[in-house]
């Protein structure tokens, strides 16, 4: 025995950051597999590229910043960022797009802000938004068509050699198609397009359900709380009910919920705790804001899917939300709001 001067608590739980990140990665797997099976093996290739790039970039930056490299690589947070980006990027985009995006996420959006826990914006979404704004052609036309499957060799060729994909193998996303076509066609006519096969939108609907299931596991494991997903889906749903009543005018609610990145965004992206609001009430406001913004941007903005922009905008607002949504502390009459103490 030593005269050890340790203070309470002497006992800690078994949770760790790598456990949290590990579960996030694990629960992404079902959705990922659905995307590969339904659309393209490009999702698998993207994932490998992103994960490797992320590890390398993180290690280099940590070494450069004089931080313990192995200790921080073990927290798996770089892999989560990479995985989210790989799932969000079009599967038939050229390899350098994925690598570039991952480097932007890890180097600029994460490490240059101070590494894990210090980034004000969701790194994967920073990278996605930057790519979408800078390289819109690749980001909007390289989505795989659900009923035309490229062989693995062709997919590799498209990604690595810059070969132009065969006609019909690529296209726009269902949300994009609907938004473009509804201006000149009726809803029934728009829905004739093969991208709206299946239940809501072929491939996308099952992927969304798979991400929803993964999110449910995170909820059950108490890694995330219900506040952000519920308020996000609620915000988007309410907006769709209010303004998308006529499917001949605007994208209907089922497409909003199940044909885009909504479930991935609600359970995996918006719930990134580092860049989100903190208190339970704050998370409700934050999630609601994202939901409403997704609808606004999808409907009246220039982008068919809007999770990245909505999340980034609310990232900006998170510190402010935190100041006005503090919980009422035990014994207090009311919560302390704002920036000044009474």
């Amino acid at each position: 025995m030593s005269g050890l001067n340790l203070t309470s608590p002497h006992v800690t739980g078994r949770l760790s950051v790598s456990w949290v990140m590990g579960w996030v990665l694990l629960t992404l797997v079902p959705g990922w597999i659905v995307l590969i099976v339904s659309f393209s093996v490009g999702y698998a290739i993207n994932m490998v590229l992103a994960l490797l790039t992320a590890l390398l970039a993180e290690a280099l930056l940590l070494a450069w910043r004089g931080r313990p490299v192995v200790f921080f690589l073990k927290d798996l947070s770089a892999l989560v960022t990479a995985a989210l980006l790989a799932l969000a990027l079009p599967p038939l985009a050229p390899w350098w797009l994925t690598v570039l995006g991952t480097m932007i996420a890890i180097v600029f959006a994460k490490q240059l802000f101070g590494g894990l826990g210090h980034n004000p914006f969701n790194p994967a979404m920073v990278a996605y938004a930057l790519l979408l704004v800078s390289l819109p052609l690749y980001m909007t036309t390289r989505w795989a068509s659900p009923d035309f499957t490229l062989s693995i060799a062709d997919t590799l060729a498209v990604i690595f050699t810059g070969q132009t994909p065969i006609d019909g193998a690529t296209g726009a996303t269902p949300l994009d198609v609907y938004k473009l076509d509804i201006s000149r066609l009726t809803s029934t006519e728009v829905l004739q397009s093969p991208v709206f096969g299946g239940w809501v939108a072929e491939g996308w609907d099952v992927a969304n359900l798979a991400f929803l299931a993964g999110g449910a596991v995170l909820l059950w494991k108490r890694i995330i709380t219900w506040h952000i997903p519920v308020s996000l889906l609620g915000g988007l749903g309410i907006m769709a009910l209010l303004f998308s009543g006529d499917a001949d005018v605007r994208t209907p609610i089922d497409l909003h919920l199940f044909a885009g990145a909504t479930m991935l965004g609600a359970f995996f992206i918006a719930t990134d705790p580092v860049s989100a609001a903190t208190s339970n009430r704050g998370k409700l406001v934050y999630g609601l804001g994202i939901g409403v913004l997704i609808y606004l941007i999808r409907t009246w903005g220039n982008y068919p899917d809007a999770v990245a922009f909505a999340v980034l905008l609310m990232n900006f607002a998170a510190p402010l939300i935190d100041h006005y949504t503090r919980p009422r502390v035990y014994g207090h009459d009311k919560p302390v709001k704002g920036f000044k103490n009474d």
Binding site: M1, S2, G3, L4, N5, L6, T7, S8, P9, H10, V11, T12, G13, L15, S16, V17, W19, V20, F71, D75, S77, G115, L116, G117, H118, R222, I223, T225, P273, V274, A276, T278, S279, N280, K283, D322, R326, P327, R328, V329, Y330, G331, H332, D333, V336, F339, K340, N341
Partner: protein, 603 residues
């Protein structure tokens, strides 16, 4: 007693947050309470309680009997110290006490004679007929303090009459892992506890006795119910789910009543007084047996202990002795913790004595309670927020504390933190959050003390400044009066010397003469000074007026009580300024007159 006691079970309210660490209670709660043999020397710190240290009333060499007072309570919040056994006082000196920093404090050392010979005792059996004040005084004289942890002198709770008390709440939750002292005490001495509760209820004028107990102590609950029936004591029971920290006073009140103790308030604001079971047993012993608090039940547990269990230990027994008697393998042990694993502290020195608040000695192996690992950065996951029982935002407090942003820490109500450690327990980044909060709290306390000090210094400085100003003004006034008198005298003399034949004695003439004399006097006074000097004096007077003006403006905003004095000073200074101006003018006049001597003769 023949009346049938009514024992009701109440519904339990919600407690936010909390955690479920491994309980490890069965390690120590299966064996009866046994006594630790008397050590040869007992070390009795004068401050085993919250409040002022007791004042020794014995001297070295004196022989005392068991239960004799060794040191008396001083002031409002304090507790007496008694001889746990008979013997001789062998020293009164600083000894290492049980404290996180290993600090030393004044202690009385008692060498046991082995006789264990009681002093004369005066039990109060008919306490219902005794004046309440006398009973409370008995508690104070018996050195009874809260045995749940803080060691708050018990008599103070009964003296506090700012709100009528309706409820005595018995805290039997014992939510810390490992600790089972209250559990065993209830199983074995429920009668004592409940008789103590009955006395406490009487002292408070309360109408209800309520029991708050966790559902992991069914035998203890049964024992308490049966004792209540036997003694004919009405009691309402709230069985709360096992969850840490439900045994915190404020948390238990929330669980049992659904109410929150107001911020900065006391349980008595809700008409509640909360007492730990051990404290109630001590109240019973102090009143009905006239036994002061000289021993207590302590859990000795952990995987490095051969015979974990609960022990009746005399206060002042060196912890080392207790550990030896209970078969602790100090080689296997990683540390000795006083208190439980959630809120206890590691003892730097085990020669320190066991005190009135020592409810547990936890001696774990390193495998059992591993050393802390290097922490990861905070990822703001919010698990801490879900675990916080008082609804704080621990991650925000962490950032504020880490960056010593004390304003932000206060904004997030850091002083409402009860340091239960639930946040640190759930933290996936394993950040020692409680240490950060303690640091920030300490810094805040320091800052507030500094502020009070600075405020005092400012008041002192201002008072001194005012006094000096007043003195200077008085001096000035006296000087002026003297100058005037001298001038008058000179004028009178001059007038008398001129000897004008048609001089009349009427008042008007005299007054005119005085005025003239004054002018002449002033001229004479200033004649001594050169023009340059006068200009300097005027300038000085002007700056003084300006400064006084500034001071007055500041004072009007900050210390209104200073304003009249400053205003008066300003008027005086302005007067001085005017007279300086007049002097300069008249000096100028004088020079002109001197340059043109004709003028004088012409006029």
């Amino acid at each position: 007693m023949t009346t049938l006691a009514a024992i009701a079970t109440d519904k339990v309210f919600a407690l936010k947050g909390g955690i479920h660490p491994q309980e490890r209670k069965t390690l120590s709660n299966t064996t009866p309470i046994t006594e630790v043999p008397l050590p040869s020397v007992l070390i009795l710190p004068l401050a085993m309680h919250l409040g002022a240290p007791a004042d020794p009333v014995v001297t070295v060499g004196m022989t005392v009997r068991k239960g004799d007072v060794l040191a008396t309570a001083v002031g409002g919040i304090s507790a007496a110290v008694h001889a746990p056994t008979s013997g001789r006082i062998c020293a009164i000196e600083d000894r290492v006490i049980a404290h996180e920093s290993g600090l030393s404090a004044p202690c009385i050392l008692l060498e046991a004679d082995g006789e264990d010979d009681w002093r004369e005792r005066h039990p109060i059996l008919n306490w219902r007929e005794q004046p309440v004040d006398e009973l409370i005084q008995r508690l104070r004289d018996s050195g009874v303090v809260g045995q749940g942890g803080a060691g708050f002198p018990t008599d103070v709770k009964y003296r506090n009459k700012h709100k009528p008390i309706t409820t005595l709440l018995i805290n039997a939750a014992e939510c810390e892992p490992y600790i089972t002292a209250d559990d065993r005490l209830m199983r074995e001495r429920a009668d004592e506890i409940l008789q103590g509760a009955n006395i406490a209820k009487h002292l408070l004028g309360a109408s209800t006795i309520r029991l708050g107990i966790e559902d992991n102590k069914p035998q203890a609950l049964t024992a308490m119910r049966e004792a209540a029936k036997r003694l004919g004591i009405d009691m309402r029971v709230s069985v709360v789910a096992t969850k840490y920290p439900s045994g915190g006073e404020r948390q238990l009140i929330q669980l049992v009543t659904g109410q929150e103790v107001p911020r900065g308030g006391l349980p008595s604001d809700l008409g509640i007084v909360c007492q730990n079971v051990g404290t109630l047993a001590s109240i019973y012993r102090a009143i009905q047996l006239d036994e002061p608090l000289i021993s207590r039940v302590t859990t000795v547990t952990g995987e490095a202990v051969d015979a974990p269990g609960n022990y009746e230990v005399r206060i002042g027994t060196p912890i080392e002795t207790v550990l030896n008697q209970t078969g602790v393998h100090l080689k296997k042990a990683d540390r000795v913790i006083m208190g439980g694993p959630m809120m206890g502290f590691a003892l730097p020195d085990i020669t320190a004595p066991l005190v009135k608040t020592t409810n547990c000695l936890l001696v774990p192996t390193r495998k059992e309670l591993p050393r802390p690992m290097p922490d990861n950065p905070c990822i703001r996951c919010g698990l801490c927020e879900q675990a916080c029982p008082v609804n704080l935002l621990p991650q925000q407090l962490f950032w504020a504390s880490k960056h010593r942003d004390l304003d932000a820490a206060e904004l997030h109500s850091i002083n409402d933190c009860i340091e239960c450690g639930a946040c640190a327990y759930v933290c996936p980044s394993r950040i020692p959050l409680v240490q950060y909060y303690r640091y920030a709290k300490g810094e805040l306390r320091n800052e507030q003390e500094e502020q009070i000090k600075a405020e005092r210094a400012r008041t002192r400085f201002e008072a001194r400044q005012a006094r000096l100003d007043k003195e200077r003004l008085e001096k000035e006034a006296r000087r002026k009066a003297r100058a005037k008198a001298a001038a008058d005298a000179r004028a009178a003399k001059a007038e008398a010397g001129s000897g004008e034949p048609d001089a009349q004695d009427d008042a008007i003439k005299a007054a005119m003469a005085r005025a003239k004399a004054k002018k002449a006097g002033a001229a004479q006074a200033t004649a001594d000074l050169s023009r340059v000097d006068l200009e300097k004096a005027l300038e000085l007077a002007a700056t003084k007026v300006k400064k006084a003006n500034e001071r007055l403006i500041v004072a009007e905003q900050e210390s209104p009580d200073m304003v009249p004095a400053l205003r008066k000073a300003l008027t005086k200074l302005e007067e001085k300024h005017r007279s300086a101006q007049a002097a300069l003018e008249s000096a100028a006049q004088g020079t002109r007159d001197a340059a043109d001597p004709k003028k004088d003769t012409d006029s």
